[in-house]
């Protein structure tokens, strides 16, 4: 009798252990997604934002049962803002870590280095942090970007001046001499010409420039109506500080990137007011879709998780992750993925149109997002207000810029 009971207990225990084992085995089949992103170096700050966006996407997806029942696990590696390291890490993620899919990091040079590796191994690579035009000229099939091309991103920052009175007649364009910002300057020039604004000063300066006062003093002496800056966050902050120091008061100042990052307003406080910035997304845009719901709900999730609002690059990065997720769900794929699966994902990314919290995503044959209108925002009373396109504007542009001495 005792022996029988013992056998029963033993069998039950064995079944229990096996089922736990199976369950554990099932659980282990998570989606492995690899990201080589700059967490240190010149783009360390911007790359960290991209990391936050993917982290939030991962947590949100996992809290809703994962993608097709499998949870998401992201492997982040730091490329130290060095393109050669980005290429090496991308290969490591594919070959050594055997990730199912990739997501892009930050910076055009970095994506230039990562994309040939992704192309070689036939891994779709969607980035939300690089928009240099040349990235799309190489005939790659596996590279995608949720951002528009760099020269187009700043269109809103110039087109907005068609809606002000009196319309500015002259502009000065300055920018850091790296790929994204110099392309932004090209975009400024192109749209100034098409809007009849004369460019009276055009200068690119080293990214590591310390003395912004001398640079801007030259510009001040030419007395342009507006100042257009090709910038990253630090460039934008240094420009504002220098403008205040030398009391440079053009009628408007616009930046290609920087002011939409919350740190800009946090650090500059009242000095950040009146600043215009290019954007591709703001939380008040009337967009909605799977995973995050509305744009405003994505903003709320961000506030809850990171105690700050997201920047448009973060939204673009998360938007790319969502687009890839939608394709996986539609194709009914489960990890681990093979080469054929990834080819199908690439084809679907080219073919499908995606409605997301980030707006419409429609990848062209070159991988650029063709469905995204450029947005211009202005900081008004410490808040980012959407001022262009006019149909989505939540506030009227404050123009002209209030002189520093009157603030």
């Amino acid at each position: 009798m005792f022996l029988k009971s013992f056998r029963l207990v033993f069998v039950l225990l064995l079944i229990g252990l096996l089922s736990v084992g199976f369950a554990w085995g099932e659980q282990k089949k998570a989606w492995k997604i690899g990201v080589a992103v700059s967490l240190t170096g010149v783009f360390g700050k911007d790359g960290s934002l991209v990391k936050d966006a993917y982290t939030l996407w991962q947590e949100t997806v996992n809290s809703h049962g994962g993608v097709n029942g499998a949870s998401v696990e992201i492997i982040f590696y730091d490329d130290k803002s060095d393109p050669a390291t980005t290429a090496k890490l991308t290969e490591q993620l594919i070959v050594s870590d055997k990730v199912d899919l990739l997501l892009g990091g930050f910076g055009s040079s970095q994506l230039f280095a990562a994309s040939p590796v992704a192309e070689k191994y036939q891994y779709p690579l969607i980035s939300g942090g690089a928009s240099s035009n040349k990235l799309f000229d190489r005939g790659f099939k596996y590279y995608f970007s949720t951002l528009g091309k760099a020269t187009e991103e700043v269109r809103g920052c110039v087109d907005i001046f068609t809606a002000v009175n009196p319309k500015p007649k002259t502009a000065a364009i300055v920018g850091a001499d790296i790929l994204f910002t110099s392309l932004a300057c090209e975009g400024y020039k192109k749209y100034c010409e098409s809007n009849g604004i004369e460019v009276i000063h055009h200068e690119l300066f080293p990214m590591a420039l310390q003395d912004y006062n001398s640079l801007l003093m030259k510009v001040k002496n030419k007395n342009p109506d507006i100042l257009l800056v090709g910038s990253h966050l630090l460039v934008a902050m240094k420009t504002i500080k220098a403008m205040k120091e030398i009391d440079f008061n053009p009628k408007a100042v616009a930046f290609s990137y920087g002011p939409t990052v919350p740190k800009f307003v946090e650090d500059l406080k009242g000095d950040a007011n009146y600043v215009i910035a290019a954007s591709e997304w703001t939380p008040n845009m009337p967009y909605s879709g799977k995973v995050f719901g509305k744009a405003s709900e994505f903003n709320q999730l961000y506030l809850k998780r990171f105690s700050r609002s997201p920047d448009y690059v973060e939204a673009a990065a998360a938007g790319g992750a969502v687009a890839q997720q939608i394709v996986i769900e539609e194709l009914g794929l489960k990890p681990p993925l093979n080469k054929e699966n990834r080819i199908k994902i690439m084809e679907a990314l080219h073919k499908d149109k995606f409605e997301t919290f980030y707006g419409k995503i429609e990848f062209g044959a070159d991988g650029a997002n063709e469905a995204h209108p450029p947005v211009a925002v202005q900081i008004q009373s410490g808040k980012l207000e959407n001022v262009f396109p006019l149909e989505f504007a939540e506030a009227k542009i404050l123009y002209p810029f209030k002189p520093w001495k009157e603030r």
Binding site: L39, T40, G41, F76, Y77, D78, D82, P83, A84, A87, K88, E91, Q92, I94, V95, S96, S109, F112, A113, P116, E119, K120, S132, K134, D137, R138, D177, I178, L179, T181, S182, L183, L204, P206, M207
Partner: protein
């Protein structure tokens, strides 16, 4: 005893190099092969710096300029003049060496911090020239901050392995030559007491110039290979001062003016950043910084340098 040790070390080096040459036939993982290639790449780059600064004591803060020149020569030759890769590669080394020769004539007359500042300034100036040249002269040559996209090679990592390995092999053999030639003694004499060397009949300027141009030749080759491998270059990337810092730290860690120093320093630093960087993404740089500080405190002349002094070895 010392000469026997020299020969043994050389034979071991030749045997290891031969064995390494067959690695692509055994290493199945493309990633592992890339990692090995990156280690060999940095051994060579650190070796180039050691060749000039390690032996003469002239601290060069601008070697990246020749790496960048090599990258641009290859990129322009391949994209603008449709020159195939290997002739472009040779051209990269040659032009880097020629520029180094003419830059070396005035700068190598400077000493100590002045030489360091001059070389650093030259590297930064070249970065600015490549950024501004096209805009200033209304041409399309360096393509400024837009950078140059090189043709996609389509080669796998073993191709780049076999491009880099022979260059590094020759760089290290040059070290052996420096250690065992009158030219090398001249370089060491410059390090010990330049004026005394000059009085003893050593043509110090010519010796420094030879070392400087040779180092630039190899750096140009590395620049060209990396440009072809990464397929895209910008002035900010190829003239990045971080590359100089990395080659200096690798050589200092291994031991300045030693044969094995660049090999040990580059391998140690590359593998340690690889290992820690993938495991401790948030903290690995602090850990690497700590390891470098501790290593230098315990072994002030670098790993091989200290061993050389303690064991009183002439050549390693």
């Amino acid at each position: 005893m010392n000469y026997r040790t020299d020969r043994i070390i050389l034979i071991i080096f030749l045997l290891i190099s031969t064995a390494v040459a067959f690695l692509p036939y055994f290493v199945q993982s493309e990633y592992l092969l890339r990692l090995i290639t990156v280690v060999i790449f940095w051994i060579g780059i650190a070796g180039c710096w050691n060749m000039m600064s390690g032996y003469t004591g002239y601290i060069d803060f601008g070697p990246v300029v020749y790496f960048g020149i090599g990258s641009y020569v290859a990129a322009i030759a391949m994209t603008k003049y449709m020159v195939p890769f290997f002739p472009s590669l040779f051209l990269s080394g040659l032009i880097s060496a020629v520029i180094a020769f003419f830059i070396g004539i005035p700068t190598l007359r400077l000493k100590g911090a002045y030489f360091a500042i001059a070389t650093f300034a030259f590297a930064e100036a070249m970065k600015q020239i490549s950024l501004e040249f096209d805009r200033t002269f209304k041409v399309s040559f360096f393509q400024g901050s837009d950078g140059i996209t090189l043709p996609i090679s389509g080669h796998d990592n073993s191709f780049f392995f076999y491009c880099i390995l022979p260059v590094t092999f020759v760089v290290m053999l040059t070290h052996y030559f420096i250690e065992h030639s009158k030219f090398g003694y001249g370089l060491k004499a410059i390090n010990e007491a330049e004026t005394a060397a000059e009085i003893s009949g050593v043509n110090t300027t010519a010796n420094k110039l030879r070392a400087y141009a040779t180092s630039a030749f190899f750096l140009g080759l590395y620049g060209a290979i990396e440009a072809y491998w990464i397929t895209y270059i910008t002035p900010s990337d190829v003239f990045n001062v971080q590359k100089t810092v990395q080659m200096v730290i690798m050589t200092l860690l291994g031991g300045m003016g030693t044969f094995l120093g660049p090999i040990v320093g580059a391998t140690f630093l590359t593998l340690i950043s690889e290992s820690l960087g993938t495991r401790f993404v948030e903290y690995y740089l602090i850990m690497i910084g700590g390891i470098i500080i501790v290593t230098i405190l315990i072994l002030p002349s670098g790993i091989i340098g200290t061993l050389k002094i303690r064991k009183r070895l002439r050549f390693i």
